[in-house]
Amino acid sequence: MSTKADPDYGDTGSIKEWNLRLFITDWTPRCVVAYKNLNRICSKHLKDMCQIEVVDLLENPEIARREQIVAIPTLMKMSPKPERIMIGDFTDEERVLKTLGIERHRKRTR
């Protein structure tokens, strides 16, 4: 798992099956909660198959415009397809799993 704020997200070195990108505006309490929740869910269900990339928009505001970010925190599932977008602090675990398709994936690999 790595934390990156590179605008080009050139981080494909470690090939993980799950690539998530979390957009934050600095580590506000809500962003911290969101990250912790997400990290917990991923660790629990995806073990080390998951990479969460954190993008701080304050460091590069242009990304917000390019990626059409309005709400914070925003999570983008880059892979596996289909791409999904979630906003919020991910307190509802079931909802997160469902939206990201993790449950389905788990069933399939079982």
Binding site: R65, I69, T91, R95, V96
Partner: protein, 574 residues
């Protein structure tokens, strides 16, 4: 001195000019500086264009760069849409005078779980503002957030925070909103957050002509007009039609302008129209309205005044030709550039465009005299009420410009009170022309119904047009009736004949009287003489009597002396 000035700047709400024609006038200087203004209206009412023009004019005219955050149209769509208004957004963006950010929120793509905020929007806005040092911001239409996100509680809280943040940033903001239902101005109650200035845009379609209107619903700390102002969007952007009727502060001139018709001047105190006044010439078809207008213009050009003639019924050539037949040659004036005709079919454009076109032409040509022939041509463009409003605005505009204006009006009925648009009170001078048909001929009459600021004749005059020009004649009024035209001539001849006979009769009777008087005088003289003779005789008789008395007394004394009467006894007797 410096103290009072400081006080003034503290209390007066600072405003930012929009540069949009007419808007700064009706808002008394523009939008509240550093504060948000809500512009709402239904779809297609011109909110986006108003917002964009606010930014374009801000950056080009007032050196205030602007950020346009669009929630609906893409940058490309915006650029294309406003290019027809002559705004080149690409070059403004390239020169860092404008930044556009198109915000896309697709609800179907976004899942919500738990709490979030709209900090992403803040980051984008802040970045855009900082990138060009923007002073103006437009959010069009931020209500889209409500359809893109489901947690309205969060949206409301974040909007409140956004507007506070914008105020802190000190940027002058326009927030657009969709017109709401019955309980709210906007669909999602944006007016709750924007309390300084609220403007409503409306687009109504009446008689197949769409009319755009603007109204200031609220402007905290600033006097504003509550009127509805028509506006148009054309190749010059947005234009709000002038203010007018807000204040009646015109220069009131006492200078006079001759009418071009000698007898009409005489009816108006011998001096003609008041400079800067508005004159209504009403009458049915063929009563000579255009001829009177041509005289007005001709007289103006003779004085070297620039004249503008709006002809909605005939072409310039037709008018020049027709007027030549009554001895008025307008052609030299047009060649000299003193007279300009502006002929257009009324149906070519809507009422507002006409009003604006008239104003633009006037601003360009700068005439002292204007003729609108005829204002009633506007009647079929809109409801009578709208036309009335327009004519009022037009008159106000003329007054502000100190233009002496003559408007002709086609009345449909023969009644005097019918001006065609029911606007007589708006005009200073009202001349009514009629056609009177009698004895198989039609004759024209003219009457000055009213003329403010002067004593005017109340007489109806016969209005005669010939190759020699326009003339006013007295109507031949006798106890038997009033006569005009041929009847006037006939009656006059008959009356003159009768007069001669009567005159001759009169002289013979005069002679008799003189004779009688002479006889009477002779008799009086005779009687006076007789009387005087009587008096003399009486006096003579009286004198004789007195003489006899004296003689008698004297003789009595002599007698007593002679008798030697006792003196004392005599004395005692006395």
């Amino acid at each position: 001195m410096s103290n009072t000035r400081k006080l003034a700047t503290l209390t007066v709400l600072e405003k930012v000019p929009t540069g949009i024609q007419g808007l700064d006038e009706i808002t008394g200087g523009g939008l509240p500086k550093g504060r948000p203004t809500l512009i709402y209206g239904s779809a297609g009412s011109g909110k986006t264009l108003l917002g964009m023009e606010f930014l374009v004019r801000g950056s080009t005219q007032f050196n205030e760069p602007g950020v346009f955050m669009s929630f609906e149209e893409t940058e490309k769509e915006l650029t294309t849409n406003v290019s027809s208004l002559g705004f080149d957004l690409n070059s403004l963006i390239a020169s860092d005078k404008l930044a556009i950010d198109h915000v896309v929120i697709e609800r179907s793509e976004i899942e919500e779980t738990g709490e979030y905020d709209l900090e992403g929007l803040f980051v984008r806005l802040a970045a855009a503002i900082d990138s060009i040092k923007a002073k103006r911001v437009v959010l069009d239409t931020i209500e889209v957030l409500y359809s893109g996100l489901s947690n309205t509680g969060i949206i409301r809280a974040e909007l409140r925070r956004l507007f506070r943040w914008l105020k802190d940033k000190g940027v002058t903001t326009i927030v657009t909103g969709e017109r709401g239902g019955e309980t709210m101005l906007t669909r999602h109650g944006l007016e709750e957050y924007v309390s300084d200035c609220v403007i409503f845009l409306d687009n109504r379609v009446t008689l197949e002509q769409s009319t755009r209107r603007l109204r200031i619903i609220k402007y905290r700390g600033s006097a504003h007009s509550t009127n509805e102002f028509p506006f148009i969007i054309d190749e010059n952007g947005l234009s709000i039609l002038p203010i007018t009727s807000v204040k009646l502060e015109y220069p009131a001139s006492t200078e006079r302008l001759l009418t071009g018709v000698k007898r009409l001047d005489e009816m108006l105190e011998g001096k003609g129209y008041l400079k800067g006044s508005s004159i209504l010439v009403s009458g049915m078809v063929g009563t000579g309205k255009t001829s009177l207008a041509a005289n007005f213009v001709d007289a103006g050009c003779r004085r070297g005044q620039r004249c503008l003639y709006f002809a909605f019924e005939e072409s310039a050539r037709q008018i020049i030709r027709n007027m030549r037949s009554i001895g008025i040659n307008l052609e030299p004036w047009t060649k000299k550039g003193l007279l300009q005709f502006d002929a257009a079919r009324v149906s070519e454009m809507g009422l507002e465009k006409h009003l604006l076109s008239v104003q633009r032409t006037i601003n360009k040509f700068k005439p002292e005299l204007v003729v609108v022939d005829a204002i009633t041509d506007f009647n079929n463009l809109d409801s009578l009420q709208e036309v009335r409003q327009m004519v009022l605005r037009l008159i106000d505009f003329f007054k502000i410009k100190d233009i002496t204006a003559m408007c002709t009006s086609m009345s449909s009925r023969t009644g005097l009170e019918d001006t065609g648009v029911g606007l007589s009170s708006a005009f200073d001078t009202w001349i009514h022309l009629t056609n009177v048909q009698d004895n198989l001929e039609r004759n024209r009459t003219l009457v000055v119904v009213k003329s403010r600021g002067m004593a005017h004749s109340n007489q109806v005059r016969e209005f005669v047009m010939s190759s020699k020009g326009v003339e006013l004649l007295d109507i031949y009024a006798t106890p038997a009736g009033a006569f005009m035209g041929t009847a006037r001539l006939a009656q006059k001849a008959a009356d003159e004949a009768a007069e001669i006979i009567r005159h001759e009769g009169m002289t013979s009777r005069e002679r008799q009287i003189t004779e009688k008087r002479r006889a009477l005088e002779a008799r009086i003289n005779a009687m006076t003489a007789e009387f005087e003779a009587d008096v003399k005789e009486t006096e003579m008789v009286l004198g004789q009597e007195k003489a006899r008395d004296r003689i008698l007394a004297a003789s009595r004394k002599a007698l007593s002396n002679h008798r030697k009467a006792d003196v004392t006894a005599d004395k005692r007797n006395k």
